[in-house]
Amino acid sequence: MTLVQQTNEGGQELLPRSEQTAKQLLREVGSVLRMSEAEAAALALQEIDPDVDQTMIINMGPQHPSTHGVLRLMLELQGETVLRCKPIIGYLHTGMEKTGEELSYLQGGTNVTRMDYLSPLNNELVFSLAVEKLLGIENDIPERAVWMRMLLSELNRMSSHLLFLATNGMDIGAVSMMIYGWREREQVLRFFQKVTGLRMNHNFIRPGGLAADLPAGWRDDVLSILEEVEPRLEEYDVLMTGQPIWRERLQGVGVITAQEAIALSATGPTLRSTGIPWDLRRDQPYLRYDEMEFDVIVGSYGDAFDRYAIRLNEIRESMRIVRQILDRMPAGDYRIQDKKVTPPPRARIDESMEALIHHFKIFTEGFKVPEGEVYVAIESPRGEIGCYIVSDGTSNPYRMHMRAPSFVNIQCLPHMMRGGLVADAVAVISSVDPVLGEVDR
């Protein structure tokens, strides 16, 4: 077998222009605008009709540093201009949905937390909410557990967006921003380590509540994070937001309209950058977000700069929510005291035979979940993350599906890049902020 055959992936790849069918052309140019095939073909002709000899199809990725992992883009270039683009994914596919069927509901958290590894707590949260809905205990979760979940979820949004600022800066050439973003994110991760024991992949939010209570001194830690990050955001504004080079690189790059974003099912900052105020925290509230005061940040041009500015300001909004949570954090239990779902306290095991049995059953067999199916969606830093679980009455999910926001948002790339420059392609990938662990699952 020759090397060419070994690496060829056939139909998944971007085909040469001469082999392109009208339907494929429609997919690339017309579908998002809901054009007819004839209109799309006419548009493509008038747009650019390059000489076949003058274009070339190149691979960007999967090892390219600016593709945030293992995203591979096939680009058709004419000089510096991107004519067509096709994302090819699957390099990180590890069958996590299949694995999810083999793990009990208690173990499932360790699996889903590894999908979007930049916002692990949001993954655990949506999984736990779905399981709790199936169990019918979603209204019995203790108040403190609910507020703790909200606190962790917002801090996680901050850390994820801070990392976005870092990588976005790095991709565009503001390398100092990379160091600053990682530095601030580290503060949040240090807090997570103190609370959950791990920096990432916590498995801390579990069906029924959380794994442990907040440690002593948590309030001071959170306050010190807020105090530190707040002035740093002002510094970012000076360093990037108002800076002419930064604006030149981002403004008007990777533009998408509201109609296109909705048609492509984009969510999160990508959708909000087009001016659609759609945030599940406000529009379909979960936890206690309906009692929180915060603004949904929207853009107006749908370009890479708007997506940057939205994330920067969402950090501020998250901090606002965290301050409200600090004021209102109730006392009480951090998990539901339902013997069938929650393991008994360690001390009880020594004195109660029943507690020992429950403990043993929960950690060997797991708890049984009534039959049914639910879809629960929450707002992760990248958009709508949804969890669809089918239960057949046993202690393992019959089917566990995650609706990953990055997987869907990545479909916007060909549209955003069309007609742009190669250097802008890097800015566009970065502005959508895909996490490949979640794209491929």
């Binding site: 139909g11 997919r27 299949k98 669809y388 057949d392 599906h401």
Partner: protein, 156 residues
């Protein structure tokens, strides 16, 4: 039992579901799209091979596969779930013309379950390699195993 555009409906833990047949599927989704369900959040499938006794509303005949489509209405802040019964080899119409964002999701369903979609512009595998055999998320597709050298602990 209520009907929505002639299709049986259900309620799953307070979430609205509707069960069209394959023939009713595309017309139903078109009507829902006109009613304001402007975004298709998710397309996935379930293989019910080993769980035939699931609860379905009257008049819905259980089949091996179920196509599950989650639609969102940004206007009314609502959600609806469309569940279509499919047998192995059945081909569902693609939602691509209505919601171009379903392109990758339908490819994923094809890749993982082997369900076909008519009218999809580029129905190829998306996560697995192009030449992969089988459909991983089917229930008769075995979990992989890594052979280990010292697993057996038989008596000497």
């Amino acid at each position: 039992m209520e009907l929505l555009h002639g299709c049986p409906t259900g309620d799953s833990r307070g979430q609205q579901t509707v069960f069209p047949s394959v023939e009713q599927y595309l017309p139903l989704v078109k009507k829902l799209a006109d009613e304001g369900y402007s975004m298709c959040a998710d397309v996935t499938a379930v293989d019910y091979l080993t769980y035939r006794g699931r609860a379905l509303p009257e008049g819905v005949e259980p089949k091996r596969f179920e196509l599950v489509v989650n639609l969102v209405s940004l206007e009314h802040r609502g959600r609806i779930r469309v569940r279509v019964q499919l047998d192995d080899g059945d081909v569902a119409p693609s939602l691509f013309d209505l919601y171009p964002g379903t392109e990758a999701m339908e490819r994923e369903v094809y890749d993982m379950f082997g369900l076909g979609f008519s009218g999809h512009p580029d129905l190829t595998r998306i996560l697995m390699p192009e030449d992969w055999d089988g459909y991983p998320l089917r229930k008769d597709y075995a979990m992989g195993r890594i052979p280990v050298q010292f697993k057996e602990t038989g008596a000497r």
